[in-house]
């Protein structure tokens, strides 16, 4: 196991990684921007290094500063969390060159899977089902239009370098295609410095279901079941759960096996997530691989008892997976709600500020992952995730009741501070959600009503 790990992230995930390190007896280095000097992870870490000013480009996205921080503190590994540098294969490569272990898949695997077109090609080769569409990026507007017409509308145009719901557009009719195609290319170029896009069939009422995999450096791979992330607002996940309600076990087992096949075919190492869409006829289609720990990993932890971050550390340190597929047992239902500092009444505008009151929920089968504390000033510079509330219960009805109880007792207050707690409760109270019959259109419908 490592001696000292640098945590190249902030917020709740930095705290989450620190906790795993501490339980494994690994010392920790927090890096932070000027705005985060008083953050929870800085308070908790064994050492901390300020790496730049508030803007992420100059701090958390500043690969050189992170590497230097690792060097001056003597860290032997870097955990990138999610976002920021976590899926930057160049950064992973630099770590490797510097003799620092990057806790994630090898750079070349990240590069292949991080690009949607090469990922699609690899998964097609591994025999995973894909939605009808282009495997290669589209050459020009005309051939793109022809392909879209062949697939049939609606289609979705996606940036090859995109992710996290950014750089994608839906086209409902052929007449709109050319304009949207140009716009999406322009957006992709601006956001990712890469204007390549591809097109595929769009499923308006699909379920977003993902499979957690875990692979060691010895060729072993297991999956830890699925997560349903169909409650989304503008492609941002709000509520995640496992198991996926209403999906037959047989289907999710097949999806899990497909994900393991894909992971092994691509030489994956560490924790990864295979995203699929599941249509109303229970067909599943590979979408993308997330080469990092996910925000919603706790629901998997709650039903399997597996500490995914600790497993990341173990396989990164070269240990063999102690888990075999037959050892993975899931028990009960877990739900996660993302509590953001946003104001649902003002179109979910960020509403950060000083937390004059901060009382997270507690008690039986409730887990809270947060960097918040009373007196903490949530900076405006970063994303609005303040806390993840996760509940477990033997069945989904009880897990929902428990979540509604937990959200109701979460007290967050401060000047200008708002949270999404009440809105999340509306989602949980929705009959369609309660029946597990919802899809990715649920939040939009709720907000329209």
């Amino acid at each position: 196991m490592f001696d000292k790990i640098l945590i190249a992230n902030r917020g709740e995930i930095a705290v989450r990684v620190l906790r795993a390190c501490r339980e494994l007896g690994v010392r920790t280095v927090a890096v932070y921007s000027t705005d985060d000097a008083d953050s929870a992870v800085v308070r908790m870490a064994d050492e901390s290094v300020r790496i730049g000013p508030a803007p992420a480009r100059q701090s958390y996205l500043n690969a050189a500063a992170v590497i230097e921080a690792a060097r001056i503190t003597g860290a032997d590994a870097i955990h990138p969390g999610y976002g920021f540098l976590s899926e930057d294969s160049d950064f992973a490569e630099v770590c490797e060159a510097e003799g620092i272990t990057f806790i994630g898949p090898p750079p070349e695997v990240m590069a292949q899977l991080g690009d949607k077109t090469s990922a699609r090609a690899a998964m097609t080769a591994a025999g995973l089902p894909l939605l009808p569409g282009s495997v290669e990026p589209l050459a020009d507007a005309e051939s793109a239009q022809r392909l879209a017409d062949d697939i049939g509308y609606p289609v979705i145009i996606k940036a090859a370098a995109g992710g996290g719901g950014r750089g994608m557009s839906i086209v409902d009719a052929g007449a709109d295609f050319a304009r949207t195609y140009q716009q999406t290319k322009a957006t992709a170029l601006q956001l990712f410095g890469d204007g390549r896009v591809y097109v595929e069939r769009y499923l308006p009422s699909a379920r977003h279901v993902e499979i957690q995999v875990l692979c060691d450096t010895h060729g072993n791979a297991v999956h830890l079941g699925e997560r349903d992330c169909s409650v989304q607002r503008r492609h941002q996940k709000l509520v995640e759960e496992t198991p996926a309600p209403g999906l037959p076990r047989e289907l999710t087992d097949r999806m899990g096996a497909a994900a393991v096949r894909g992971a092994q075919a691509s030489g994956y190492v560490g924790a990864g997530t295979f995203e699929f869409l599941v249509d109303t006829e229970n067909n599943f289609y590979f979408m993308e691989v997330n080469c990092r720990i996910q925000v919603e990993h706790p629901v998997t932890e709650m039903v399997t008892g597996v500490d995914l971050i600790a497993e990341q550390l173990r396989v990164a340190a070269g240990e063999r997976l102690a888990l075999r597929q037959e050892d993975v047992r899931t028990d009960g239902v877990a739900i996660e709600c993302r509590v953001n500092v946003e104001d649902p009444k003002r179109n979910f505008a960020p509403a950060p500020g000083r937390l004059e009151e901060f009382v997270p929920p507690g008690g039986p089968f409730v887990r809270v992952d947060t960097h918040g504390f009373t007196g903490y000033k949530v900076p405006a510079s970063y994303d609005s995730l303040l806390a993840k509330v996760i509940t477990w219960a033997p069945d989904r009805v009880q897990a929902i009741a428990r979540m509604r109880r937990a959200l109701a007792e979460f007290r967050v207050a401060g000047p200008g501070v708002h949270t999404t707690c009440e809105f999340l409760d509306q989602v949980l109270a929705d009959p369609e959600f309660a029946d597990g019959k919802h899809d990715t259109s649920l939040v939009a419908k709720l907000l329209e009503s």
Partner: protein, 188 residues
């Protein structure tokens, strides 16, 4: 002359008002008024001169104290901790970073890396304590990602202290040198 006074009149959120025992207050009223006026004027002047509204303001002269605080307007504002406020002086001449070091302007690291005080091992340092430096003059090197980045003085002045040892790691914004700057320069 003695005054029997409530120990504290405390009105916070319209909540509590104390009258505990009634205690002797040693100050004479005229003195109180005089001192308070001074303190009050000081506070008001500070407010008027403050480039933007402070988040807290404390003025204290012996037993006389004035403390004011404002909630940050929106979260977009730079981090202004609602902690007890620093001495009055920095409000005007503010040139120090929010570090816990004693007052005085410093030259700070612009990046994380390894600090070198001289151009090469064994060579004499770029600057020594007591040296006068002019704006733009190289004073050190920070090595980051195998690049030797020159550290230049952002302002002129006299180096009063070298704060980091040769070969030590430094973090972003870490003070490297303390400077003495002419008053005219400071006020600019």
């Amino acid at each position: 002359m003695t005054h029997r006074l409530p120990r504290a009149v405390h009105s916070s959120n319209g909540h509590t008002v104390f009258d505990e025992h009634g205690r002797e207050v040693p100050a004479e009223r005229s003195d109180v008024e005089d001192v308070l006026q001074v303190v009050q004027r000081a506070a008001a002047d500070l407010l008027a001169r403050s480039p933007r509204p402070p988040s807290t303001l404390n003025v204290r002269v012996g037993d006389v104290a004035v403390e004011m605080g404002w909630t940050a307007p929106t979260a977009a504002a730079p981090a202004a901790p609602v902690a007890p406020v620093a001495p009055v002086a920095p409000i005007v001449g503010s040139v120090t970073p929010a570090a816990p070091e004693p007052a005085g302007p410093t030259l700070d690291a612009a990046t994380v890396g390894t600090f070198y005080s001289s151009p090469s091992p064994g060579a004499p340092p770029f600057v020594n304590e007591g040296d006068e430096v002019s704006p733009g003059q190289q004073v050190a090197i920070i090595e980051a990602m195998k690049l030797m980045l020159p550290v230049e003085a952002e302002r002129g002045g006299r180096i009063t202290e070298v704060l980091v040892g040769d070969g030590e790691g430094v973090e972003f914004g870490q003070p490297l040198f303390r400077l003495a700057v002419a008053d005219t320069d400071l006020a600019a």
